[in-house]
Amino acid sequence: MPRGMYRSRTFRRIFVKVPGNTVKLHYRRRKPSKAKCANCKKLLIGVPHELPLKMKNMPKTAKRPERPYGGMLCSACTRQLLKQKARGG
Protein backbone atom coordinates (compact mmCIF):
# COMPACT_ATOMS: atom_id res chain seq x y z
CA MET A 1 0.00 0.00 0.00
CA PRO A 2 1.46 3.44 -0.84
CA ARG A 3 2.33 5.90 1.91
CA GLY A 4 -0.63 7.75 3.48
CA MET A 5 0.13 10.91 1.53
CA TYR A 6 -0.17 9.12 -1.82
CA ARG A 7 -3.49 7.53 -1.05
CA SER A 8 -5.36 10.72 -1.82
CA ARG A 9 -6.49 11.76 -5.29
CA THR A 10 -4.48 14.99 -5.22
CA PHE A 11 -1.70 12.91 -6.76
CA ARG A 12 -1.75 11.74 -10.35
CA ARG A 13 -0.67 8.12 -10.95
CA ILE A 14 1.91 7.91 -13.73
CA PHE A 15 3.46 4.68 -15.08
CA VAL A 16 7.15 5.19 -15.86
CA LYS A 17 9.59 2.81 -17.58
CA VAL A 18 12.63 2.64 -15.31
CA PRO A 19 16.20 1.54 -16.23
CA GLY A 20 15.64 -1.79 -14.49
CA ASN A 21 13.45 -2.61 -17.51
CA THR A 22 10.30 -2.63 -15.38
CA VAL A 23 7.33 -0.25 -15.24
CA LYS A 24 7.03 1.66 -12.00
CA LEU A 25 4.18 3.76 -10.65
CA HIS A 26 5.14 7.38 -9.93
CA TYR A 27 3.02 9.99 -8.21
CA ARG A 28 2.88 13.62 -9.37
CA ARG A 29 0.92 16.62 -8.15
CA ARG A 30 -1.96 17.79 -10.31
CA LYS A 31 -1.47 20.97 -12.31
CA PRO A 32 -3.72 24.01 -11.73
CA SER A 33 -6.60 24.43 -14.18
CA LYS A 34 -6.20 26.15 -17.54
CA ALA A 35 -6.67 29.91 -17.83
CA LYS A 36 -9.96 31.02 -19.33
CA CYS A 37 -11.12 34.29 -20.87
CA ALA A 38 -12.96 36.47 -18.36
CA ASN A 39 -15.58 37.35 -20.97
CA CYS A 40 -16.31 34.34 -23.15
CA LYS A 41 -14.80 31.63 -20.90
CA LYS A 42 -12.79 30.16 -23.76
CA LEU A 43 -9.32 28.78 -23.09
CA LEU A 44 -6.63 31.46 -23.24
CA ILE A 45 -3.82 31.03 -25.75
CA GLY A 46 -0.29 31.77 -24.56
CA VAL A 47 -1.04 31.30 -20.87
CA PRO A 48 0.64 28.17 -19.47
CA HIS A 49 -0.70 26.33 -16.42
CA GLU A 50 2.18 24.92 -14.40
CA LEU A 51 2.83 24.20 -10.76
CA PRO A 52 3.42 27.41 -8.75
CA LEU A 53 7.14 26.71 -8.30
CA LYS A 54 7.71 26.40 -12.04
CA MET A 55 5.52 29.40 -12.82
CA LYS A 56 7.48 31.51 -10.35
CA ASN A 57 10.77 30.94 -12.14
CA MET A 58 9.25 31.62 -15.58
CA PRO A 59 9.94 35.01 -17.21
CA LYS A 60 6.94 37.33 -17.22
CA THR A 61 6.58 37.24 -21.00
CA ALA A 62 6.25 33.45 -20.90
CA LYS A 63 3.28 33.65 -18.60
CA ARG A 64 0.96 35.78 -20.68
CA PRO A 65 0.73 37.44 -24.11
CA GLU A 66 2.15 40.94 -24.41
CA ARG A 67 -1.14 42.58 -25.30
CA PRO A 68 -3.44 44.86 -23.28
CA TYR A 69 -5.69 42.55 -21.25
CA GLY A 70 -3.25 39.75 -22.14
CA GLY A 71 -3.89 36.76 -19.93
CA MET A 72 -7.31 38.16 -18.94
CA LEU A 73 -9.27 38.39 -22.17
CA CYS A 74 -8.90 36.37 -25.34
CA SER A 75 -7.84 38.23 -28.49
CA ALA A 76 -11.36 38.39 -29.92
CA CYS A 77 -12.86 39.82 -26.72
CA THR A 78 -10.01 42.35 -26.46
CA ARG A 79 -10.65 43.51 -30.02
CA GLN A 80 -14.37 43.78 -29.38
CA LEU A 81 -13.83 45.75 -26.15
CA LEU A 82 -11.36 48.16 -27.78
CA LYS A 83 -13.72 48.68 -30.70
CA GLN A 84 -16.54 49.62 -28.33
CA LYS A 85 -14.23 51.98 -26.46
CA ALA A 86 -13.09 53.61 -29.70
CA ARG A 87 -16.63 54.02 -30.98
CA GLY A 88 -18.29 54.92 -27.68
CA GLY A 89 -15.51 57.12 -26.29
Binding site: R67, P68, S75, T78, R79, L82, K83, K85, A86, R87
Partner: protein
Protein backbone atom coordinates in the same frame (compact mmCIF):
# COMPACT_ATOMS: atom_id res chain seq x y z
CA UNK B 1 -14.11 60.16 -48.37
CA UNK B 2 -12.39 56.78 -48.32
CA UNK B 3 -12.31 54.92 -45.07
CA UNK B 4 -8.59 54.26 -44.68
CA UNK B 5 -7.28 57.28 -46.55
CA UNK B 6 -3.97 58.97 -45.72
CA UNK B 7 -4.33 61.06 -42.56
CA UNK B 8 -7.22 59.03 -41.13
CA UNK B 9 -6.94 58.65 -37.36
CA UNK B 10 -7.68 55.18 -36.09
CA UNK B 11 -7.24 52.93 -33.07
CA UNK B 12 -5.19 49.76 -33.27
CA UNK B 13 -7.20 46.79 -32.06
CA UNK B 14 -4.73 43.92 -32.05
CA UNK B 15 -1.15 43.37 -31.13
CA UNK B 16 1.20 44.72 -28.54
CA UNK B 17 0.15 48.32 -29.02
CA UNK B 18 -3.59 47.60 -29.11
CA UNK B 19 -5.82 50.41 -27.89
CA UNK B 20 -3.40 53.13 -29.08
CA UNK B 21 -4.21 55.92 -31.48
CA UNK B 22 -2.45 56.01 -34.85
CA UNK B 23 -2.69 57.71 -38.23
CA UNK B 24 -2.62 56.18 -41.68
CA UNK B 25 0.58 57.36 -43.35
CA UNK B 26 0.46 55.41 -46.57
CA UNK B 27 -1.90 52.98 -48.28
CA UNK B 28 0.26 50.06 -49.37
CA UNK B 29 -2.50 47.94 -50.94
CA UNK B 30 -6.20 47.24 -50.43
CA UNK B 31 -5.55 45.27 -47.24
CA UNK B 32 -2.34 46.75 -45.85
CA UNK B 33 -1.65 50.25 -44.58
CA UNK B 34 1.41 51.96 -43.12
CA UNK B 35 0.60 53.38 -39.71
CA UNK B 36 2.43 55.67 -37.27
CA UNK B 37 1.70 57.67 -34.11
CA UNK B 38 1.22 56.28 -30.63
CA UNK B 39 1.82 52.86 -32.14
CA UNK B 40 5.09 51.76 -33.68
CA UNK B 41 5.56 52.75 -37.32
CA UNK B 42 4.58 49.54 -39.09
CA UNK B 43 2.57 47.87 -41.80
CA UNK B 44 -0.83 46.87 -40.44
CA UNK B 45 -3.77 44.93 -41.81
CA UNK B 46 -6.85 47.15 -41.94
CA UNK B 47 -8.79 44.40 -40.13
CA UNK B 48 -6.77 45.30 -37.02
CA UNK B 49 -7.66 49.01 -37.21
CA UNK B 50 -10.78 50.80 -36.09
CA UNK B 51 -11.17 54.07 -38.09
CA UNK B 52 -12.23 57.19 -36.17
CA UNK B 53 -14.19 60.16 -37.47
CA UNK B 54 -11.28 62.65 -37.47
CA UNK B 55 -8.68 63.00 -40.18
CA UNK B 56 -5.54 65.14 -40.21
CA UNK B 57 -3.77 66.62 -43.23
CA UNK B 58 -0.73 64.56 -43.93
CA UNK B 59 1.09 63.92 -47.18
CA UNK B 60 1.36 60.28 -48.07
CA UNK B 61 4.55 58.58 -46.86
CA UNK B 62 5.20 61.27 -44.24
CA UNK B 63 8.24 60.73 -42.06
CA UNK B 64 8.06 59.99 -38.36
CA UNK B 65 9.06 63.56 -37.49
CA UNK B 66 6.17 65.07 -39.47
CA UNK B 67 3.70 62.72 -37.81
CA UNK B 68 5.25 63.59 -34.47
CA UNK B 69 4.73 67.35 -34.92
CA UNK B 70 1.10 66.94 -35.93
CA UNK B 71 0.42 64.54 -33.07
CA UNK B 72 2.05 66.79 -30.51
CA UNK B 73 -0.02 69.70 -31.78
CA UNK B 74 -3.13 67.61 -31.25
CA UNK B 75 -1.86 66.70 -27.79
CA UNK B 76 -1.63 63.00 -28.56
CA UNK B 77 1.36 61.06 -27.35
CA UNK B 78 3.80 59.59 -29.84
CA UNK B 79 5.77 56.38 -29.65
CA UNK B 80 9.53 56.89 -29.90
CA UNK B 81 11.56 53.75 -30.15
CA UNK B 82 14.51 54.09 -27.81
CA UNK B 83 17.77 53.21 -29.60
CA UNK B 84 19.05 49.93 -28.20
CA UNK B 85 22.03 50.77 -25.97
CA UNK B 86 23.73 47.46 -25.62
CA UNK B 87 26.37 47.80 -22.85
CA UNK B 88 29.93 47.57 -24.28
CA UNK B 89 30.77 43.85 -24.23
CA UNK B 90 33.58 43.09 -21.83
CA UNK B 91 36.28 41.69 -24.10
CA UNK B 92 37.27 38.72 -21.87
CA UNK B 93 40.49 37.44 -23.38
CA UNK B 94 40.25 33.73 -23.95
CA UNK B 95 42.73 32.09 -21.58
CA UNK B 96 44.77 30.33 -24.22
CA UNK B 97 46.21 27.25 -22.47
CA UNK B 98 48.54 25.17 -24.61
CA UNK B 99 46.96 21.80 -24.36
CA UNK B 100 50.32 20.14 -25.00
CA UNK B 101 52.06 21.91 -22.07
CA UNK B 102 49.45 20.69 -19.68
CA UNK B 103 49.99 17.07 -20.60
CA UNK B 104 53.76 17.03 -20.14
CA UNK B 105 53.58 18.79 -16.77
CA UNK B 106 51.31 16.08 -15.49
CA UNK B 107 53.55 13.25 -16.61
CA UNK B 108 56.81 14.60 -15.10
CA UNK B 109 56.04 14.54 -11.34
CA UNK B 110 55.17 10.88 -11.51
CA UNK B 111 58.60 9.88 -12.79
CA UNK B 112 60.43 12.16 -10.33
CA UNK B 113 58.72 10.63 -7.33
CA UNK B 114 59.98 7.20 -8.20
CA UNK B 115 63.63 8.33 -8.75
CA UNK B 116 63.96 10.40 -5.63
CA UNK B 117 62.66 7.48 -3.59
CA UNK B 118 65.36 5.20 -4.94
CA UNK B 119 68.13 7.79 -4.61
CA UNK B 120 67.19 8.49 -1.01
CA UNK B 121 67.52 4.83 -0.08
CA UNK B 122 70.95 4.60 -1.71
CA UNK B 123 72.09 7.71 0.14
CA UNK B 124 70.82 6.36 3.42
CA UNK B 125 72.90 3.20 3.07
CA UNK B 126 76.08 5.11 2.31
CA UNK B 127 75.66 7.35 5.35
CA UNK B 128 75.16 4.36 7.63
CA UNK B 129 78.44 2.72 6.53
Amino acid sequence: MALFEVGRLCVKLAGRDAGRKCVVVEQLDPTYVLVDGATRRKKVNIKHLEPLAETIELNSGASHEEVKDVFEKLGLDVFDSKPKQTPPRKKHLKKVKDKTEKKTVKAKPKIEKKDTGVVKEAKGIEEVR
